[in-house]
Symmetry: C2
Subunit: 281 residues, 2 copies
């Protein structure tokens, strides 16, 4: 019996990002056409599982799923929302994008804005960036002193353990791309007028600090990889593979939760009789 | 030159709901197969238009679209979210469901909870029920005195005019079903264990007041149909036709807005040079 998708992508405890190939395809489809066929089937499964999760919540279950997406600029966070999120009923999604904190957000603890976006029962939440920025850019750009960002590893792990206790299943994905692939994607954004709005000159400033970011990512992942909130490293130089891998991870996670349609809290036969008797003028 | 989709479904000033056939197909595909082909093409157009609307907002445009869905139980509000909302990038959607108001909501003006859910710039907002409940169930069940709900017609029209001035294009759809079709859909919900969670015994109480609701709908629509916030009556006994009609309405509305990718606020050639010079160790 082979490894599960989750086992395949789960980060090793001694994570070294340079040892993971961003073009790797350790499991699943070998090419784009095979991935497309798989995605159709995964989409149907995800859609059904998500509907059951949503339905279950109407019966009082607190369960929800939270997909955290982190990765360098152009690594495909938006693409995953479009292509994986797009596989299910949008009503069952709760998408949150975390940008540079506002003054109001900065006036609070770093987890304040994140807690407000935790998916409600029955939903699949997707975080486009997250509280991990507070140990990534905050570290690389020295936005706070080292003792502050170091303390956050523990605070994050506690926060995620709380969520897990509340019934929120957390799936954290680092979209792992190469610097070469990033350069190609940035060129594509500059070249195509319909993509130019996605380009931000600040992306090159972050790119210039690539090794510092890789180090910050690796330590953040090592320090916050728990059984309640595991990290997966997704080879992301191939967009179709990245999308397939995350769809497959989610489907496996949801199948494991095995959400159930709730039992009716009314008498079905009595309602049938009431309905049959209801006449509308 | 034929009528536009908007002209076709726009309510007449002297609206009489009993004069509109819930199985009507006044324009567009005649059968499910033709509708499916149309939906594929509409989906591509909607997706592109929505991306442009989203992109435009990153350049500072305040424009957004708000689709308001109203209709009796089982009329298909959720189905429209799934099948029409599902045509576009979920990141560009902002879906709000209005249920029975909470105590906190009731402590505020009836528009308070609605204002909080107005789509931000660049998004397509979808309201699953809306402030119209405050002149529908509020009237039929006498939740407030008549002078209060009557005053709301004006308050709603003013609110919607404000939104329009702020750049929010409003598309209001009444999903028009027959009492017979509703009975069939309620039976289906009772019969199928995977649909039973959608059934609510209270639905039959509302059904018993069908004529009062039709009257409340007709008056609400007549009093709040403005050029800034027009009402469309969508024949909804056929699910595929309802979905097609709303997708087509939205596509026409967005095409008319003609959203544009913003001009870059940086020097493209200078960025190309910076990128070419950026080397990552």
């Amino acid at each position: 019996m082979g490894k599960t998708v989750r086992e395949t992508f789960r980060m090793p405890a001694d994570l070294d990002l340079s040892a993971i190939d961003p073009r790797g395809r350790p499991v699943g489809p070998r090419d784009k056409a095979a991935a497309a066929a798989d995605m159709t089937e995964l989409g149907e499964r995800l859609d059904h599982l998500q509907e059951a999760l949503y339905a279950e919540a109407t019966g009082g279950s607190p369960r929800a799923v939270l997909l955290v997406l982190q990765g360098m600029d152009t690594s495909g966070k938006g693409g995953v929302i479009r292509h994986v999120g797009g596989l299910v009923n949008p009503q069952g999604l709760q998408i949150a994008t975390f940008k540079k904190p506002t003054d109001e957000e900065l006036a609070h603890d770093f987890l304040w804005r994140v807690r407000r976006q935790v998916p409600v029962a029955g939903r699949i939440g997707i975080f486009d960036r997250s509280h991990y920025e507070d140990v990534l850019i905050a570290r690389v750009d020295s936005l706070v002193p080292e003792d502050v960002w170091r303390r956050r590893y523990t605070e994050i792990a506690q926060f995620e353990a709380e969520l897990d206790e509340q019934g929120v299943t957390i799936v954290k994905c680092m979209l792992h791309i190469s610097a070469k692939e990033q350069a190609e994607r940035l060129v594509a954004r500059l070249d195509d007028p319909a993509k130019r709005w996605k380009y931000n000159p600040g992306d090159l400033d972050a790119r210039a600090k690539w090794p510092a970011y890789q180090e910050a990512y690796a330590e953040a992942l090592r320090r916050t990889d728990t059984s309640a909130a595991p990290w997966y490293v997704i080879p992301s130089d191939r967009k179709w593979y990245r999308n397939w891998a995350i769809a497959a991870l989610l489907a496996e996670t949801l199948a494991d939760l095995d959400p159930r349609f709730p039992k009716p809290d009314f008498d079905v036969d009595a309602e049938r009789a009431r309905l049959a008797a209801s006449t509308v003028p």
